[in-house]
Each structure stands twice: as C-alpha cells, then as structure tokens.
C-alpha cells in the first residue's frame, strides 16, 4: 500500500511506449469527439470501442477504453457550453452556466475552466482510486454468497432510486428487467437453459456488449434521427487558457465537488450525471454568490465539471474491488476487462496484484491527454460539432453493427443489439433510466448464483441473509431506500423527529 506511488510510476513507465502514447492521443480525441456530439454518450463510446478493440492486446485495449471514457465525460462540456445541449447526460449541469458564459462572449474562458476542472476532477478521482480500491478490496474479501446477493439487490435499488429521482419505480423496473435479461441461457449451477424457447443461440445468454450497444447506441441513433431540429453553435472563441487565480480561488469548490464525485461514483450504477448535479447543488448552497448560478457562474461550471470527472475514478473503485460498476460506462469497462481475461473483484489483488496501479497509470495518461487536447484543439473540435446528424448517425449505426458482430462473429448478436435498441428507445422516451438495466445485466448472475449457493450452504435456511453483519447493513440501506420514497414513511419520520426535538427541548 505504502509502495503504491512507486508501483504507479513503474506502471506509468511501462506504458510510455510510442505506440501506447499514440493510442492514448487518438482514443482521447475520439472520446472527446464522442462526448461532444449530442446523441453519442460515454457509455455508447466505450461499448462501441470495446467491440472495435477486441483484437488488441489487453493492456492497449483497456488504455484505449479508459481514454475514451475520460475524454467523453469531458467532451460533453464542449457542446454544453457552445450549443446549450449536453454532449452526454453527465454534462447537463454544465449547460446551466456554460452556455450563459458563451452568450456573454466568454466561450473561450468557459472551455478553459471546464477543461482544467475536468482534469483536476479526474486526477482527484484517480488518487482516490489508487488509495481506496485496496482498502475496499480488503473488506470485500469478507463478502460471501449472502453479501454478494444483497450487494446485487442493493445496487439495483440504489441505482434505480438515484437515476430516476422523480419516479424511482421506473428505475427499479428497469433494474429488474436487466436482472431477468441476464438470466436468459444456461444457469451457473445446473446448466439448465432458461427462457431460450428452443433457440440454440440463446443457450449462452445475451452477450453484454450487443445489449449495451443496443440500449445506448441504437436507441440514441433512433432518438437523434427522429428529431428535425438543427442546433446553432456559438462560434466566437477567444483565449482558452485559464488564469491561475481563476482556478485557485475556487479550490474549495473543486475539492468539495471532487469528494462528492468520488462518493457518488462508488455507489453502484449511479454515475456521472448525478455526480454533476449533486456537486452543482452543493456548490450553489455553499457559494457566496448563489444568485449568479444559472446566469454564467464560473463556480457552477467548475463544480459540475469537477464532479462528473471525479466520478470516473470513484466508479472504477467498485469495479476493481467488487466487480460491481459504479456507472454505466464503468459497467462496459468491467465487461471489457472480463473479455480481455482480467477478473476484477475481491481476488483481484491476489490474482493480478499490480492491476490497480496499472489502471491508475492509464488514468494519469488519459487525464493528461484530455488536458492537452482540450486546451489545444478548440477550433478544430468546434468544426466537428457542425457535422450534420444524418451523415453521422448512419455511420455510427454501421460501427455499432460491426462492434457487436466482432466479439463473437455471430449475426445473432446484431439482432440482439437491434432488439435492445428497440427496447432502449421507448425506455428513454418514457423516463425509464438505462443505467439500472445495464447494472441488472451485469449483476444478474451474481444475484442468481449467490442466492442459490447460500441456500445450499445453509440447507435452505434464510436466517444468515438477515443476521450476518455486512448483509444486515446492506438490507437496512436497501429497505430504507425503498421506504424513503413512500409518503407514509416520510410522514412517520417527520413526526418522529418532531417529537424527539420537542422531548429534547423540554429536557
């Protein structure tokens, strides 16, 4: 643990080959472009590149995916500032102050501040990743079947709750659908083929990447092509490089947003968009000038961008320690690690002792590439924003098809992708978040195998599910999350706390 920084430097040195650096530059640029273009999200970008880099050596494939992830979450700020349209959902909060700044003729400084705060957010996230993953890994070693079952359920409930804040029922429904989707095919204990309806192709279940590409990629292509609105780009961009004082005076906001981003990132499936909104909200509450928020506040812009990028590191912590993704793009990253023979989870530190440091080194390269490209290629990237969607979207669909096909070389996967695109489109339209579905697809097997394995171990006794300390904590949080959305429970809590207050004030 104490030697961590040294190991990170060693891994960084190992990564510094001309070919890897070229991949880092190209993939970060691709990530920024994907994030920047409204309709293409970070999850879709990472899923697409997972298929496209399937033939690459594992180390280079993962570094490419990490660069795309970091680049895309940052890249979305560009369209948020210049178009008032978030490039990815993670940049929705950036629009509130980024676009007003651009309208005031400060598009350049806004881009500069967004880039710097995204960079610092990512660096904060990767420091937390390097520090907390081994610690969480130690705790995770105490997890057994009972805890892993509850962890899967906890992830779905919390993710559904936070990604559909106005109607968590829809988030939970999406999560349960995801869990059921993952259970199609032969089960992990008896190899019985479930819900295959006589189709041999379905015995192996649905491959994760076609499902993800469908839900995120195809659904987005269909959504964008349905619209006829052509966005207008703010073109006047002056000096981009931010002044040191501008960054330094908001150091507290950055630190706060970084902490919020990492914590939210570590919660299963929640992700960068929630991190940005919560960071923005906290910054507004703590600000000396809350009245400026929404009218071009630099503090608001910095809070949103630091929060969403710090979330990336946070989201990768549970990926490495528990094999549970903290966000949708992290879910794809987890799937990519599996594809390339790495098995994240409690045994990672034993099986691949240097992997955490290697991933941290990859994040360092990605964040540096993002900073350099973000501050230097501003005008070139603005031109990309003007590519008409009817040109871009069919090309994206062709890449989605080849990406889904490349992994197993099966036409069946192309149909799976299309079917999930057809499911993903109405889900988006009728406010069912995709993140719980993705998380469900990842965690379904964990829930299934561990529940049944635990029952076998206790000869059908369910008591340990509620009496083991970690299980009990997970059950309590899961139940509280569900009950907290019920009016009667909130009224009960309010009455209880009012009575307690009265009792204490009398005393």
């Amino acid at each position: 643990m104490l030697l961590g920084p040294w190991y990170i430097l060693v891994e960084l040195w190992n990564l510094l080959t001309p070919l890897t650096l070229l991949y880092v530059a190209i993939s970060t640029f691709i990530g920024i472009v994907i994030g920047m273009l409204p309709g293409l999200t970070a999850t879709m970008g990472v899923a697409l590149l997972t298929g496209l880099t399937f033939g690459f050596p594992p180390k280079q494939a993962i570094v490419i995916l990490i660069c795309v992830y970091v680049g895309a979450i940052y890249g979305g700020s560009r369209s948020a500032i210049l178009l008032n349209i978030p490039g990815t959902p993670a940049n929705a909060a950036t629009c509130l102050d980024g676009f007003p700044l651009a309208q005031q003729g400060q598009a350049g400084p806004a881009i500069g501040l967004a880039t710097t705060s995204s960079f610092l957010g990512t660096v904060f996230g990767l420091i937390c990743l390097a520090f907390f993953t081994p610690l969480l890994g130690q705790i995770a070693l105490q997890f057994q079947s009972w805890e892993f079952f509850w962890l899967a359920i906890f992830g779905i409930i919390v993710c559904g709750n936070l990604t559909a804040p106005t109607d968590p029922l829809k988030g939970w429904i999406a999560g349960f659908i995801g869990l059921l989707v993952s259970l199609v095919g032969q089960d992990g204990i008896t190899a019985y083929a479930r819900f295959t309806f006589g189709f041999d192709q379905m015995r192996g279940g649905f491959a994760l990447i076609p499902v993800l590409v469908g839900v995120y990629g195809i659904a987005e292509v269909l959504g964008v092509m349905r619209e006829t609105v052509i966005p207008r780009v703010v073109m006047q961009i002056q000096k981009v490089l931010p002044r040191w004082q501008d960054v330094w005076q908001y150091r507290r906001t950055m630190l706060r947003s970084g902490v919020i981003g990492v914590i939210i990132g570590a919660i299963p499936g929640v992700g960068e968009d929630v991190a940005a909104w919560v960071s923005y909200d906290f910054a507004k509450r703590a600000s000396k000038h809350p009245e400026e928020f929404g009218k071009g506040s630099r503090e608001g812009l910095i809070a949103a961008e630091t929060g969403n990028n710090a979330c990336i590191g946070g989201a990768v912590i549970p990926v490495l320690a528990l094999a549970v993704p903290g966000s949708a793009p992290a879910a794809v990253l987890l799937a990519a690690m599996w594809l390339h023979g790495v098995r994240p989870g409690p045994l990672l530190m034993l099986e691949f002792p240097n992997y955490i440091w290697e991933v941290t080194a990859m994040f360092i390269l990605a964040s540096l590439a993002m900073l350099i490209l973000g501050l230097s290629l501003v005008r070139t990237m603005v031109k990309i924003l003007m590519v008409p969607r009817p040109i871009l979207m069919p090309i994206v669909l062709v890449l989605c098809v080849i990406g889904s096909f490349a992994i197993s070389v099966r036409i069946f996967d192309i149909w799976v992708m299309l079917a999930f695109g057809l499911l993903g489109y109405p889900m988006r339209k009728y406010n069912y978040p995709a993140a719980p579905l993705v998380l469900g697809v990842i965690l379904g097997d964990m829930a299934d195998v561990n529940l049944r394995r635990a029952l076998i171990r206790t000869a059908g006794d369910v008591t340990p599910f509620f009496t083991r300390p970690i299980s009990l904590v997970l059950v309590a949080i899961t139940l509280f999350t569900i009950l907290a959305r019920a009016h009667w429970f909130r009224r009960l809590l309010a009455t209880g706390s009012a009575r307690l207050k009265t009792a204490f004030s009398r005393g």
Partner: protein, 159 residues
C-alpha cells in the same frame, strides 16, 4: 396536475404484468430436482422471485396511472392517426426500417461493401444529408475504411 405519461404508464404496466406472469409460470415449470439438487437451488428460484417483484411493480404502475389525472386511457382512432402521421414517427420508422433491412442483408450472399455502402447512401439520401456527390463520397470512404480496418488490420471476418 395532469400527468403527461398516464396513458403510456398504463399500457406499459399491462405489458409488464403479462411478461412477469409469463416469467413466473415459466420459472414454476423449471425442474425442481435437477441433478439431485434440492428445490431451493432450482434454476427457477431467482427468476421466479424477480418475476414476482416485477409483477408487483407493474401492478403499482398500472394502478397508479389509473388513479392519476391526465390523458384518457383509451386510444382513439384520431390519436393513432396523429401518432402515425407525425413527422417524427415517420423519420423514426424510416431509420429503423432501413436499419432492419441492412441487418437482414448482412450474413447473406451480398458483399459487405455493397450492403453497407447501399445502407449509408440510402439513409443519407432519405434524410437529405447533403449534395449527392458528398453522400457518395462519404459512403464509399466509410465503407472502405471500415472494411479495411476490420478485415485487413484486425483480421475480423465481415458480416
């Protein structure tokens, strides 16, 4: 206040109820003494529980939509016509139809460059992406690049 997704929630709830009932029935029909494993380890345990949970949530969604105010639940002919003749629906149908056609042709005896090039040209023409020479150039370039990179560089067979 009127809830704008009342009708959608109602029908989604009904569809999900039917699906989850199907899941429960199918889970119940799964073997309960497979290879000597006890019934609580049967492959239908978790799917049955999830089906039950989904059914409960689908019923809540349906009942909640019935109790809320908003658009009437019944779909009239006028509503259906308005939706079908909407520009957005037409664009969506066209894009999806062309994409399904493209996927149908993949893996048959039609060369990849022909299906992909044809698909790109068709979509760009239908959605008026630009002048014809630009569409042809972009489609040919994209098809050639995808085929070359995947087939020649990554050695992945094309669909």
């Amino acid at each position: 206040m009127a809830y704008e997704l009342r009708r959608q929630d109602f029908y989604t709830g009904l569809i999900l109820s039917t699906v989850s009932l199907g899941v429960i029935v199918e889970s119940w029909r799964m073997p309960r003494d497979l290879q000597g494993w006890p019934a609580y380890a049967s492959p239908g345990v978790v799917t049955g529980l999830l089906g039950g949970g989904l059914l409960l949530m689908a019923l809540v969604l349906t009942i909640r939509s019935m109790r809320r105010s908003g658009a009437p639940l019944a779909i009239t002919g006028t509503d259906a016509r308005a939706y079908l003749f909407d520009v957005g629906t037409r664009r969506l149908g066209l894009m999806f139809g062309l994409s399904v056609l493209y996927c149908l042709l993949l893996g048959r005896n039609v060369p990849y460059w022909l299906t992909t090039g044809g698909y790109l040209i068709a979509v760009m023409f239908v959605f008026r992406a630009g002048p014809w020479w630009q569409i042809l150039l972009i489609s040919a370039g994209t098809t050639a690049a995808v085929a070359y990179v995947f087939n020649r560089i990554f050695a992945i067979p094309l669909p």
